[in-house]
Amino acid sequence: CSSTPRLPPPDTDEQQFIYRMQNWSMDGRISITQTDRTDTARVSWDQQQADYRIDLTAGPFNQTVAIMTGRPGRVEIQVAGEDDRYVARSPEALMQALLGWNLPVSHAVWWIRGIPDPTRPHQVVTNETSFRFQQQGWDVDILRYQEVTPGNRLPSRLRMVHNGLTVNLVIGRWDLNL
């Protein structure tokens, strides 16, 4: 039920709706493509105010690849096949070391909802078919939306590119605990 994208950017009401989202979760599929390698996984992102938990599972048997739990200033990552937990101040470096790719979670928490991180500058890249912007060295392209409540839409498909890394995210389900 993904609706065709209305002309970007989301208007102020939609942005207000997104700012008011406090407790929400999302289920989707992610593909991570780098020069020599591509991985796909199932991703579920659960956000409670500033606390997040991101589960990555893969394979026919939905094996857990990694679990990331954190909030601004602290992240903990558990990786399949290893008992210990890794802790860091921010996810990027730890993800890169453990998973071989990274996503700036503190910014992506806005991007996956279709808007730039309001606390950082961004440039809109004008085109008709999608809402695209650049922020923190990432090129974010919101390709498709789905209506979540009357008059409010969230992405159902987006692409995030940074240097040689392309992250495609298809979002099946938004749960907004309204």
């Binding site: 289920d27 599929r29 593909s31 493509t33 020599d36 390698r37 591509t38 991985d39 796909t40 579920s44 589960d55 599972t57 394979g59 026919p60 048997f61 939905n62 094996q63 857990t64 990694a66 679990i67 558990q78 399949a80 096949g81 290893e82 008992d83 498909r157 495609n168 298809v170 099946g172 389900r173």
Partner: protein
């Protein structure tokens, strides 16, 4: 000896087909979305695993390569086959008893009438992707797999409409990507 009993249940057929419903719960017991689909195996190393809900995905292996096709992501990735053939479920479904014996301790948990339950525990912890696997057979046919992974997630796969040695066309195990999607030939593991 449980290993021999498991071996006899897992041998005696070269092809296997089944529908599945899979339930996943995390370490806090919260249930994630269940998924449904079907799979087919042609030993020694060809298989196809089609997930239909909640989103479509096809995993197809001709023994040499594994294709992972995600229609939603409009993407198909081809990888060398030997990357995932040593996971417990692959060893079980392919009936590779010797490999299973090398990696897992097999115990008989329960035997009642036509139902038999085995438990597989990894011989070296840390290396295996699953901390525990349970297999339930009814009337000597695999009916349920319970997989606990090392991060506390449990995946329960219930089989239905199982068929031993069904007719399986070769085309089932080959995949030619639709032309409007990204095809990624991934040489690495």
């Amino acid at each position: 000896q449980p290993l021999d009993q498991l071996a006899s249940l897992l041998s005696g057929y070269d092809r296997f087909k089944s529908d599945f419903e899979q339930f996943v719960t995390n370490e806090r017991g919260e249930r994630g979305e269940s998924s449904t689909g079907h799979f087919a195996i042609a030993r020694p190393d060809r298989f196809v695993w089609i997930t239909e809900t909640p989103f479509p995905q096809e995993i197809i292996s001709d023994g040499e390569y594994i294709w992972i096709y995600d229609p939603d992501l409009e993407q198909a990735t081809r990888k060398p086959a030997d990357e995932n053939t040593d996971s417990a479920p692959a060893l079980i479904l392919n009936g590779r008893i010797h490999e299973l014996d090398r990696r897992y301790e097999v115990a008989l948990l329960q035997q009642q009438g036509d139902m038999v339950v085995f438990e597989l525990l990894p011989k070296q912890s840390g290396e295996a992707m699953f901390s525990r696997v349970r297999l339930l057979f009814k009337d000597s046919v695999l009916s349920e797999l319970l997989l606990d992974d090392t991060l506390g997630q449990r995946s329960m796969i219930q089989l239905s409409n199982q068929e031993l040695n069904p007719e399986l066309a070769d085309e089932l195990f080959s995949f030619d990507p639709p032309d409007d999607i990204d095809v990624i030939l991934d040489a690495s593991f």
